[in-house]
Structure formats: structure tokens, C-alpha cells
């Protein structure tokens, strides 16, 4: 056995154990990208750096055998700095978007490319599931959303944006599908939450509260639910049966609607506050009802609610929607309703919310040749016009045709890409080392299972090792130095190279360079509760 010290804690390990593995014994997680258990360890990413406290030098822990008497520092500002530098250097040579521009510009952050892929594949149920991860009211918003996503669509300058809004509506058009899978199989929390107001924010909040297993009662002064959507938007823009249909969904999920119930200050203090574990205020424009009715004040130096958590000054009282800022898009109000519902779970300690990955790499506009690269994966048709006009919406065939126009700008490993996870943990500045020019983005979509995007590659070589073990062709390094890339010998295709090992390569690839065409889901919804990676790293001093 070998005795060594890591972060001042002694540990005893068997001979042949690496420093990285020894740290794991102590529960010290060291980030590593090119390292994969069971493969030859040949350090390249240099993200797993630790410091030899005696010599003052740094080395990659994945490949260093633990030695008797070693004194290792794995957690200190300078060690974090050098890891961060490695990540920042890798990102300076990383051309690819974590999230597609449409998703980024959607106030609710809907996973649009994934929705498109499911629609294009005819998997409409899955498409609706993806939509409902972020959007509770796809049918309604499918009529009234101004669709900022479409303005950001990379297809727009080519031959017109993908009609995302119509596609989203399409997923919820069918009544049977809409009423399916409304509620995931979750345990009841026993918590009661009041939602004041039944506009987009309130309905959305209710939807996600119910999905999280809370009881939810909605209060509204009007005789019908819907708020501004019912009373401010004309019927020709939003057919009322659509509004009713989606309210029906929330009703079916178990929401209690207390309509014709104005929430006066007295009612609020004497009925709602004592009877509910938390309250979400979604009463819309403050002209409808002043915030003072809920015992709140708005001053020069403080907002009604915290921007991130939507918490008001009163414990257990959250605010969202137009109440916070006037003239918001319905989709933003709805998005806030979801956030408020999530934050209630955190407040009541019923849920540990998956740490959302905030880090995002994005490289901006496509050049002409890059547009060609992206078009490889999409249908060349111009935007599909619904036969019966905008109100009628898409038929299935039309939806499929339109969804196929998506360029798939997103990364297909939004949750498992280690570069993104560590970039987030280490709060990197992705622009720190940006060079004067970026490489042109390319993608190889020839293989039936996987997509290979070389500009996201960190040259760890795991795929070369895995593929050459079994394949007759396999992958190889081409070139040297900064220009080295992973490619296929003799300019053959990726399909020819990876006949048996494509799946293994995707799983081993630490970034989104190699990914399944079928994308994984993002880890930012209430559906998943467990953490798939540690909380953002806080520096110990």
C-alpha cells in the first residue's frame, strides 16, 4: 500500500493507483476529459491538473501513479486557475453552440431543435414532451407568441426561418395527444400552493406545481380563467376553444380553480396566507391590482421580486409575469410561472433542482460555406405554408416537412458534454483566449447513427483508440500541432471508419464532437430530480 496526502488528508491506496483515483477515494472530484477508465491513459486535455506541494509543479493527475509520501494539492485557487486556463484554451479552439440560437432567444428556453427532430421523425408524442419541459401552454402560445426564436433562426437568412411557433402548436393540436402524459408519475408532496391569477404566468406556474406533486389552487376575480389571454386578446387571434382546451389540461391535472374570487388584502391575509404553504402571485399588470394588496412594497432600491428566484420580501410569496415587468410577452410570463413553481419546490425543500448549466458556447453568424455544412442535415424546401392559413395550422405531413428544415444548430450533448459541465463549474470566460480567427465549422452527417463535428473535438484520441481496436479502417490523427485533427484515413467516410464502434466512440467522446443524431435531453427540468453533476464549484480559500 502507498500512503500519500491529498489536500492535507492522508490516504492509503494500492500500488498502481493514480493520483486521480486516490483523490476519488477521498471524495475529491478532479475534472478530467481525456481520461476514461479502461483506456490507455495518455494525458492531453490537462484539465485534471493537481499540484505537487513539495516541488511546486503541476501535473495531470490521471496519469500520475500515486507514490509514497506524495503531498498533493487538488483544491486551491492556483490549481483551479490552471484547470480553468486549460478549459479556456480548449474553448478558444471550440467552434460550436451548446444551445441553438433559437433556444437561446426563447424566453422559456425551449429545446426547439430536439422538438423539430421528433416531429421530423413522426414522433409527435415525444415532441410534445420536449415542448412541455419548458412550455406549459404550447397550444395557446402557438397562436399568440411573437416567436423571437424565429428571428434568431439560422435558416432565416438562407430561405426563411423554420416556423417554430406553428410546429410547437402542432405538437399540442391533437386532443388525444394533448391529454396524454400530462402528469408524470410523481409522489405527492402534501404541500398546498396558491396561485393568484390565471393568465399565462399563473397557468404555467400551476402546470409545473402540479407536475412536481404539489396541490395547487388558482384564484381569479373573473368568472373564466385565462386572464389577459381571454380578456385582452381578440378571438380572431386566439380562438377561445384553444384557450379552454389548454385550461382543461391543467384542470385535469388536478388544479382547483376558485373563480369569481377577488383576492382582497383581507382575503389574502386571512384566508390564503394561513391556508397555503406558498403563494405565487401572477395578477398581471399592476394596474389590475396593486402589489400593496399582498402586503408588498416596491421602492427605488428594491424590485418586487428577486430576478433569479422570483422571491418577494415576504417569505413564501413569489411573484411572476407582467406583475414584475409590464408589457411582457406571454411566453416570458409563462416562463416565469415555471421558474416560480421550481423555486417553490426549493423553498419548501421538496426538491433539489438539477443544477442548470448556464455556460453556453456560441460562435455567431454562419459564413456561406458553413451554411452549406448545416444544410447537409436538412431539407432544402422553402418554408411550408399551412393549407388552411395560420389559424388552421399544420397537418402532420406539413409539420414533418417543415421540421425537416431545421439546421440542427444545437449540440446533441447539452448535458453530458464535459467541456460544458466543467466550463460551468469553473466559471470560465470562454472568450479569454479567443484567437483573431475561428476555424470554419464543419459537420459530418454521413453515418446513420452519429454526427461528427470536428470543431468541437479536443483531440483526446479516445475515438482513435477505440475504433482502431476493432475496425479495419477506424479513425486517425491527421497532421500535427495546432492543426492536428481526427479524421478518417485516405479521406474515407465516417461510416466506413466506424462500422462497429460508433456507439462506443460517442459514449467515450468527452464533448459534443461525436454524438448520436438522436439527441439526449437537457437536464434542466423538474422532471429529473437527481443531480448529474456537482453543484457549481466554490473556491475554498
Amino acid at each position: 500500500m502507498i500512503k500519500l496526502t491529498i489536500d492535507n488528508t492522508p490516504v492509503e491506496v494500492e500500488e498502481g493507483t493514480t493520483v486521480l483515483q486516490s483523490a476519488a477515494v477521498l471524495g475529491i472530484e478532479i475534472p478530467a476529459m481525456c481520461y476514461l477508465e479502461g483506456h490507455s491513459c495518455h494525458p492531453s486535455c490537462m484539465v485534471c491538473m493537481v499540484k505537487d506541494a513539495d516541488k511546486g509543479s503541476y501535473f495531470p493527475s490521471c496519469a500520475m501513479p500515486a507514490a509514497e509520501g506524495m503531498n498533493i494539492i487538488a483544491s486551491s485557487p492556483d490549481v483551479f486557475d490552471i484547470r480553468r486556463d486549460a478549459l479556456e484554451l480548449l474553448l478558444s479552439d471550440h467552434v460550436g453552440d451548446c444551445e441553438a440560437p433559437c433556444t437561446l432567444s426563447c424566453p422559456a428556453g425551449m429545446d426547439i431543435p430536439l422538438m423539430n427532430r421528433y416531429i421530423a421523425n413522426g414522433e409527435f408524442d415525444k415532441a410534445l414532451d420536449i415542448v412541455r419541459n419548458e412550455i406549459a401552454l404550447p397550444l395557446i402560445l402557438g397562436y399568440i407568441c411573437p416567436a423571437p426564436c424565429e428571428k434568431a433562426c439560422r435558416r432565416k437568412p438562407i430561405d426563411g426561418a423554420v416556423s417554430i411557433c406553428l410546429l410547437k402548436r402542432f405538437t399540442a393540436q391533437d386532443t388525444g395527444r394533448r391529454l396524454q402524459n400530462l402528469m408524470p408519475d410523481v409522489a405527492k408532496t402534501g404541500k398546498k400552493i396558491a396561485v393568484i391569477g390565471t393568465g399565462p404566468a399563473g397557468l404555467s406556474a400551476a402546470f409545473y406545481l402540479l407536475r412536481a406533486g404539489h396541490d395547487c389552487t388558482l384564484f381569479d376575480k373573473n368568472e373564466l380563467a385565462g386572464g389577459a389571454m381571454r380578456y385582452n386578446i381578440t378571438e380572431d387571434k386566439l380562438p377561445r376553444e384553444m384557450l379552454d382546451a389548454e385550461i382543461e389540461c391543467i384542470s385535469r391535472m388536478g388544479a382547483i380553480f376558485q373563480l369569481n374570487q377577488p383576492v382582497t388584502p383581507d382575503f389574502f391575509e386571512s384566508v390564503i396566507i394561513p391556508r397555503f404553504d406558498a403563494v405565487i402571485l401572477a395578477t398581471g399588470n399592476r394596474n389590475n391590482q396593486p402589489v400593496e394588496d399582498f402586503g408588498l412594497t416596491v421602492g427605488k432600491d428594491h424590485e418586487l421580486a428577486d430576478k433569479k428566484t422570483l422571491k418577494t420580501q415576504r417569505p413564501g410569496v413569489f411573484a411572476c409575469g407582467n406583475m414584475i415587468r409590464e408589457h411582457e410577452m406571454a411566453v416570458r410570463a409563462a416562463a416565469q410561472g415555471r421558474i416560480a413553481a421550481t423555486e417553490v419546490g426549493t423553498y419548501l425543500n421538496t426538491h433539489v433542482v438539477k443544477a442548470k448549466i448556464h455556460f453556453n458556447s456560441s460562435f455567431g453568424h454562419l459564413t456561406k460555406p458553413e451554411q452549406e455544412e448545416y444544410l447537409k442535415e436538412s431539407s432544402p424546401v422553402i418554408p411550408v405554408e399551412p393549407f388552411g392559413g395560420f389559424i388552421a395550422g399544420y397537418s402532420e405531413a406539413q409539420a414533418i416537412a417543415e421540421a425537416r428544415r431545421c439546421l440542427h444548430c444545437d449540440c446533441r450533448k447539452p448535458s453530458s458534454c464535459k467541456l460544458r459541465i466543467y466550463a460551468d463549474q469553473y466559471s470560465v470566460n470562454r472568450k479569454k483566449h479567443l484567437g483573431p480567427e475561428r476555424n470554419p465549422f464543419t459537420k459530418s452527417v454521413h453515418h446513420n447513427l452519429i454526427v461528427y463535428e470536428p470543431e468541437k473535438c479536443i483531440r483526446c484520441g479516445l475515438c482513435v483508440e477505440i475504433s482502431t481496436r476493432e475496425e479495419s479502417l477506424g479513425l486517425t490523427y491527421i497532421g500535427r500541432g495546432f492543426d492536428v485533427r481526427i479524421g478518417v484515413p485516405f479521406d474515407e467516410t465516417v461510416s466506413a471508419a466506424l462500422k462497429k464502434t460508433a456507439e462506443a466512440c460517442v459514449k467515450a467522446c468527452p464533448t459534443g464532437a461525436m454524438a448520436f443524431k438522436e439527441q439526449e435531453e437537457r437536464a434542466s427540468t423538474l422532471k429529473g430530480i437527481t443531480l448529474d453533476h456537482p453543484q457549481p464549484l466554490t473556491q475554498k480559500t
Binding site: 491513459c41 495518455h42 494525458p43 492531453s44 486535455c45 490537462m46 484539465v47 491538473m49 509543479s57 503541476y58 495531470p60 496519469a63 500520475m64 501513479p65 486557475d81 490552471i82 486556463d85 486549460a86 484554451l89 480548449l90 478558444s92 479552439d93 483566449h433 484567437g435 483573431p436 479536443i458 483531440r459 482513435v464 475504433s467 482502431t468 479495419s472 479502417l473 477506424g474 479513425l475 486517425t476 490523427y477 491527421i478 497532421g479 500535427r480 500541432g481 495546432f482 492543426d483 492536428v484 479524421g487 484515413p489 485516405f490
Partner: protein, 785 residues
């Protein structure tokens, strides 16, 4: 013309039959294929994969890793522009650009449309004293000016079309041997024309029937005076003739030796006249110096030097084993085999204080001990001759001039550590070294110095040669080993050290060429004698390639602890052209710049690393006040960036980003925060890189930032104090212009209007800053501002 598929397959079959089918044959196979077709046809590579164990992945990986390999057919002739340090400071990039223009190459193209010439850059041709240097096929041209480029290419084509250009000369013998004439035939001597001198000499001797022994000796070291001819005559002091030209040979020979025959007297008269004229008249085209004469460039050059690695320099013929034996050759090996145990041998090396000459200075004795202590029946000895530093050619000189000495060192190491096999890893760019070592190994095998039971001692040891394929990083021992194993030359993580797990997983001793060449001396003179020389931490001597802005450059071997001043002033004869000493760059791309304020710094491992430089492999480039330190840092970093294997993040991307920052600084676009950023990035690249290449790559930047920060700051303000950084300078014609129109005629970008008898004007919009106008101006009316 492209080779036919049948031809390719047939050739590949033959090559594979010779080289074998195993994976480690990959590099030699590729080298042979390229030798045959001058590039690597894809069909050939595919066929190799078909008939050997080499996979498509491996062959592609290797073929694209090493710079030696070409993937497109080259032109009929290859022009190699040396971009070594000495050439760089003397304007190699402008020479390159001028040839590019001459060949009408567009960016990214290497071969001209007619397929006549292919233009390449090489790290170093090792003729630093002739800088800037280009080599077209086998002909080397030195002291190139951009404006002379077209002339040189014409000259080459004339020579290459003349079938009599090269011919073997056989000298006829007469009776009495009247003396010996030595001619240096190291690479730089050959480059300077020593072969032509030798040819002429042999012709004259044949004609005059003067019977003297003509001896080809290895590198003399006085590279600044090449070609050198030394005349040894019994009863007379030896005489050196420096910078001799073929047409002068006759006069020199006749001044020493009396020809047999009719015109004897007449010729002697001629010689006398000639000699007088030369001695009195200045400038001289060649100079004669007596060996012991004081105050001559040669005696001064050799004065403070001490020859251990280069013992008997300029005296011995490289592959003459009898001469080697007469000079005590293999007596050290004999002593070890007959009187010392392996442990005693290691102890002696340890006692001598010898440290590895490859750059880092690891104690040699300790390395040997580590290998010896490994309990393994198979061990290897590798001589690292993959010298790739621009501006360093010590290993080449040693390999070319003293092959037996190095072999003896390896044999002793083999005996001490228990190894039976040795490998010479020699850069492919050193064909002469490969040839000499091959020859020497053959002779050793014939004479029982290698093979089974060396010198009948029962100790068996054999040595083979592995030719590198052009990758600086292969100087790193683990990358070198990977390369021998038929892999991409990627360094591996240490530990395990090669001493424990090296070639084919066996304990392997990797020492530098110079280290091995010091070993036999230590056993012949004793460890104490060796340890007496040098400083407390660094014993013995060190060979440096002295070049740059000194009057006398060349290969020097000096005792450790000698000061920079002594080297520059005493050996180098001070700064050339009456300029001011600014700095020395020691250790090449891994080293650093030492400023004039440290002129008296003693050179040894510790002192150099203390001041941010490094011994490196021993390039020593002297810089004067016309050299821009930002440019120097940029030069070295662009070398390491280009040579990075691309494995680890810090080296692959870090050096690239640093280089981009330096580009920004050089073009005057940088801001203060860029400088801070550069410094921090240099620091993390130093700390975070996996191997020595990456760890030391920032040294040239860090050391220039440390001592010449003000120059960086000047660039921030849009000013290059030395007038070197092209984006920050402009050309101007002064009122001194006489209107001769030379500049207008020669300007390649038509930036100067043709105006006879008027003052010319440069259109800066069109000017490409090629410097030709300044070079051709007869009245120095072109200035850089």
C-alpha cells in the same frame, strides 16, 4: 509524371521485403517510398496497409506527423531556405519571400506551375556562419540577398544542366610523400565549397605530380573561415588557409610544395608575386595563418577553447579506425571491459560529475545507475542525435567527425548498464552523419568492436541506425522512443522514465550525442581530470554553435563557467560591423535571451536557468542593437508552435495563442492588457505543458519580457526600436537619391516609379517592404523609418 499503379505496387513490395512487415518498419518504409517517388502516393500507402501489419490509421497518423513526408509530388528541384536563428536574424524570411515571388507561388503553394522548383523552409541547414543560406538540391548558397535570388537560380540551372558539374577525381601517386593537406569536409565546409576546393586540389596535384597526402578531416569548428585548407609539411609549422576558393588553390599549393617538372621555377616566381600581393593588399580573398601565430582569427578563435568532445578536431579523418586507435581510441572501452566492473564504470561517470548535454543537464551517472539497477534481461542504449534546434549543429558535427568516439561511449554505457543493443537516432536532415555512422559501424563490426563478444571480452553489443523523419519534438526522449516504435512522435508522461520503461517497454538509456562523445575521454584521463574543468555544478566542457552578429562564428567547445564576454569577445572576435552587443540567445527555442548587462555571466546549467535561459542543446546566437527582441521571441515561439506535437492543450493551443498575441504586438495593435495576458499565458503554458518542449516554449518570451520589456512597450506605442517589425516600418528615399533608377528597376511590386535623374519616391500603398531597393541603392539613399 506520376508513377503508374503497377510501378507503385511493385516498388512497395520491394521496399516491404527489405524493411519488414511489422509496425516499427512504418517510418523506414515511408522514407523509402518517398525516396523512390519524391512524395507518398496514396496508392502506395494503401498497398503498404494491405501487405503489412501497419494499419491505415497508423500510416496516416505517421505520414502526416513528420514534416519529411510530402503528399504531393514535388518539383524537379527542391529549394530549401534555412530558417535557423542565424539565418533569421540575417533576413531569411525576406529571402524566402523573394524566392516565392520569383517562382510566382501563391500562398499555400510550394511548387511552381511548371513543376521545376519546390520551395521549402528547413529548421536549420547547420551553416549558420554563412547565413542566410539556401540549398537547391545538393548545392548550398550562402550570404544570400533577396535581390540576388534570380541570379542564384539561374546559376543553379546552369550548373545542374552541366553534366560535368560533379565528377570523381582520382589522384595518381608518385614516389615521395612531401606532406599532408587537410581539407574540412563537415557539412558547413562542404556547403561553403570545400568539395570544389578538394576537387581542384586533386586536379592540381595530379597535374603537378606533387605527392602529398590529401586528407579529409571532420569539422574544424572554425566555420566562419570555411573552406579551410591546412598544410602540414615536415619541419614546418602547419599553415591554415581560410576562405579559400578553388581558383586560389594552385597558388597556395605551389607556395608550399615544389612541383616536379619543367615549369618549376616559373611557377614559383608566380607564386611569390601572388603571395606578396595577397598579403599586402586589402581586402583579401583568402588568408594564410600559421597555426601558432598569435593574434590571428584562428588562433584567437581556438584560444580559450578546450577540446574533449571534439578532441583532435581538424586532425583526424572521421572514418579512419587506425588513426582513431593510434589516438587512444577504444582504450577506454578496453579499460572498462578488462579492469572495471559495470558498477565501477557507472561510479566513474558519477564521480566525473558529467551531466546530460541534451539540455536539461540531468546527472549522467544517476541515469546510468537507474538503468543498471533495472532487473531486466533486455535493455537498450539510444544515442539521441535528433538535433533540431534552429541554430545548433553540435551533434551533427560530432556525428560527422567523431563517429568512433560516440560509438565507444555507447559501448561503455552498454557495458555499464547491461544493455546489448544500441540505436543511433539521427535526424533525417543529416545525410552525411548517417553515412559516416553507417560506415563507422561497418568498420567496427569488421574489427570486432561491436557485435558478439566485443574485443573478445564476452560482452556483446550491436548498434543500428534509425533515421528520424523531421519532428523537433522527437528530441524529447519519450517521443523519440515512440518514433522508433513506429508511432507518431508524441511525448509520453514520465514517470515511468525510459530508464525504467523505455523502448518496447524495456529499460532504456537515452543520452545525447555530445554526452556519449565525452565518455571515452573521462576513462582515458580519469573522472577527476574531467571534474577539474568547469564549475562546481557543471563539469567539463560544452560545445556551442556560435553564430549571429559576431565576427567569427563556428562550433566551439569551451569549459563550463566561461563567461559570455569571453565567448563573444575572445572567441567570436566581438560584434560584427561595429554594432553594439545587445544580448545572446542561448539554448534555442527552449532557452532565453541574456542581456548585455550580464555579459560576465559564467555559463553553466545553474547560472543559465537562474537568469531564465537554458543550456538547451547549445545554440548561441549573438544579437546586436539592430535586432528586435519582440521579433526574436516571435521567431522562437513560431518555431515551437510549429513543432508542437499537438497532444496537450497548453502546448497545442497555448503556444498558438501566445504567437497570435506576439503578432498583435509586432503589428503595433496590442494594448497593455495584451501584454499582461501574454505573460500569464506564458506562465500557464510553462506550468501546464506535458513535456519539455511545451514547458520551455515560453522561455524566449518570458526572458525577453524580463529584460526587454521596454521594447514590447515601444511596440504598443506603434514603434519598433530596431526597425525590424515590418508592419511598423516604412521605406523612404532621401534627397541623396541620384536618380539611377536601380531601385525602380528591381522593385518587385512596382512601388517605385521609373524617373531617371530625379529623386525617386516609394508608393507605400504598393511597397511590400522586401528591402531590395535599400540593398541595390548605390548611394544609401533608401532608409527605413
Amino acid at each position: 509524371m506520376l508513377p503508374s499503379p503497377e510501378n507503385i505496387i511493385q516498388t512497395v513490395e520491394q521496399i516491404v521485403a527489405k524493411r519488414g512487415r511489422s509496425v516499427d518498419a512504418a517510418i523506414p518504409i515511408l522514407q523509402d517510398i518517398q525516396q523512390e517517388f519524391n512524395y507518398l502516393p496514396e496508392e502506395a500507402l494503401k498497398h503498404v496497409c494491405k501487405i503489412t501489419e501497419i494499419t491505415p490509421s497508423r500510416i496516416t497518423g505517421i505520414a502526416t506527423f513528420y514534416t519529411q513526408f510530402r503528399h504531393k509530388p514535388s518539383g524537379k528541384h527542391i529549394i530549401r531556405v534555412c530558417t535557423g536563428t542565424a539565418c533569421h536574424v540575417k533576413g531569411a524570411s525576406r529571402v524566402f519571400d523573394a524566392i516565392s515571388r520569383e517562382l510566382k507561388l501563391t500562398i499555400g503553394e510550394e511548387t511552381d506551375p511548371e513543376g521545376l522548383f519546390t520551395l521549402e523552409k528547413v529548421a536549420c541547414l547547420g551553416c549558420c556562419t554563412l547565413a542566410p543560406v539556401i540549398k537547391i538540391d545538393d548545392i548550398t548558397y550562402g550570404h544570400i540577398l533577396p535581390e540576388k535570388v534570380s541570379e542564384i537560380m539561374r546559376d543553379f540551372l546552369t550548373k545542374s544542366r552541366n553534366p560535368n558539374h560533379k565528377k570523381a577525381v582520382v589522384r595518381s601517386f608518385t614516389t615521395e610523400v612531401m606532406g599532408e593537406i587537410r581539407i574540412g569536409l563537415g557539412s558547413c565546409c562542404v556547403a561553403s565549397g570545400s568539395a570544389e576546393v578538394k576537387e581542384e586540389l586533386e586536379k592540381i596535384l595530379r597535374e603537378t605530380k606533387i605527392n602529398v597526402h590529401v586528407k579529409q578531416v571532420g569539422c574544424v569548428g572554425v566555420c566562419n573561415q570555411v573552406p579551410i585548407m591546412e598544410i602540414i609539411k615536415p619541419g614546418q609549422e602547419p599553415a591554415f588557409y581560410a576562405k579559400i576558393k578553388p581558383e586560389e588553390v594552385k597558388a597556395v599549393v605551389l607556395s608550399h610544395f615544389r612541383p616536379e617538372g619543367f615549369f618549376n621555377r616559373l611557377k614559383n616566381n608566380f607564386v611569390n608575386t601572388f603571395e606578396n600581393a595577397v598579403i599586402e593588399g586589402e581586402p583579401t580573398s583568402f588568408r594564410k595563418y600559421a597555426a601558432e601565430q598569435r593574434d590571428t582569427p584562428i588562433s584567437e578563435f581556438l584560444g580559450p577553447q578546450m577540446a574533449i568532445a571534439s578532441e583532435n578536431r581538424g586532425v583526424v579523418k572521421p572514418c579512419d579506425i587506425n588513426e582513431y586507435l593510434e589516438g587512444g581510441g577504444f582504450s577506454a572501452l578496453k579499460k572498462c571491459l578488462n579492469t572495471l566492473t559495470p558498477q565501477q564504470v557507472v561510479d566513474e561517470i558519477t564521480l566525473s560529475g558529467l551531466r546530460g548535454r541534451g539540455g536539461a543537464g540531468f546527472p549522467t551517472g544517476r541515469k546510468w545507475q537507474m538503468v543498471k539497477d533495472q532487473d531486466n534481461a533486455v535493455k537498450y542504449i539510444i544515442c539521441n542525435g535528433d538535433e533540431g534546434d534552429p541554430g545548433a549543429f553540435m551533434d551533427r558535427m560530432l556525428l560527422e567527425s567523431y563517429p568512433f568516439r560516440i560509438i565507444e561511449g555507447m559501448l561503455i554505457a552498454g557495458y555499464a548498464t547491461g544493455a546489448a543493443q544500441g540505436v543511433f537516432y539521427i535526424r533525417a536532415e543529416y545525410p552525411l552523419a548517417v553515412k559516416r555512422i553507417n560506415e563507422a559501424l561497418l568498420i567496427c563490426r569488421e574489427n570486432g568492436f561491436i557485435g558478439t563478444s566485443v574485443m573478445n571480452s564476452g560482452f556483446s553489443f550491436d548498434i543500428r541506425i534509425f533515421e528520424g523523419a523531421g519532428a523537433f519534438v522527437c528530441g524529447e526522449e519519450t517521443a523519440l522512443i515512440a518514433s522508433i516504435e513506429g508511432e507518431r512522435g508524441i511525448p509520453r508522461m514520465r514517470p515511468p522514465y525510459p530508464a525504467v520503461k523505455g523502448l518496447w517497454g524495456k529499460p532504456t538509456l537515452v543520452n545525447n550525442t555530445e554526452t556519449f562523445s565525452l565518455v571515452s575521454w573521462i576513462f582515458r584521463h580519469g573522472a577527476e581530470a574531467f571534474a577539474k574543468t568547469g564549475t562546481s555544478g557543471s563539469k567539463g566542457t560544452k560545445v556551442f554553435a556560435l553564430a549571429g552578429k559576431v565576427n567569427r562564428g563556428g562550433l566551439i567547445e569551451v569549459p563550463m563557467g566561461i563567461t559570455i564576454r569571453q565567448i563573444v569577445e575572445e572567441i567570436g572576435g566581438g560584434i560584427a560591423d561595429d554594432r553594439k552587443f545587445k544580448a545572446v540567445q542561448i539554448g534555442g527555442p527552449s532557452g532565453g535571451c541574456i542581456p548585455a548587462s550580464m555579459y560576465d555571466l559564467p555559463i553553466d546549467f545553474e547560472e543559465l536557468s537562474k537568469v531564465g535561459a537554458m543550456m538547451g542543446s547549445g545554440g548561441l546566437i549573438v544579437l546586436d542593437d539592430s535586432d528586435c527582441m519582440v521579433d526574436i521571441a516571435h521567431y522562437f515561439l513560431s518555431f515551437t508552435q510549429d513543432q508542437s506535437c499537438g497532444r496537450c492543450t497548453f502546448c497545442r493551443i497555448g503556444t498558438t495563442r501566445m504567437l497570435e498575441l506576439l503578432d498583435k504586438i509586432r503589428s503595433g495593435k496590442a494594448k497593455t492588457e495584451d501584454l499582461t495576458h501574454l505573460e500569464k499565458l506564458a506562465e500557464s503554458t510553462r506550468q501546464g505543458s506535458l513535456c519539455g518542449l511545451g514547458k520551455t516554449a515560453p522561455n524566449p518570451v518570458l526572458s525577453t519580457l524580463r529584460y526587454f520589456r521596454h521594447e514590447y512597450e515601444a511596440h504598443m506605442n506603434g514603434h519598433c526600436p530596431s526597425g525590424k517589425c515590418l508592419p511598423l516600418i516604412t521605406y523612404k528615399i532621401t534627397d541623396d537619391c541620384i536618380g539611377c533608377t536601380k531601385c525602380a528597376q528591381r522593385c518587385p511590386s512596382e512601388a517605385i516609379g521609373f524617373k531617371p535623374y530625379e529623386i525617386h519616391v516609394i508608393d507605400m500603398e504598393k511597397c511590400i517592404k522586401c528591402d531590395i531597393c535599400r540593398q541595390v541603392c548605390p548611394v544609401d539613399a533608401v532608409e527605413v523609418v
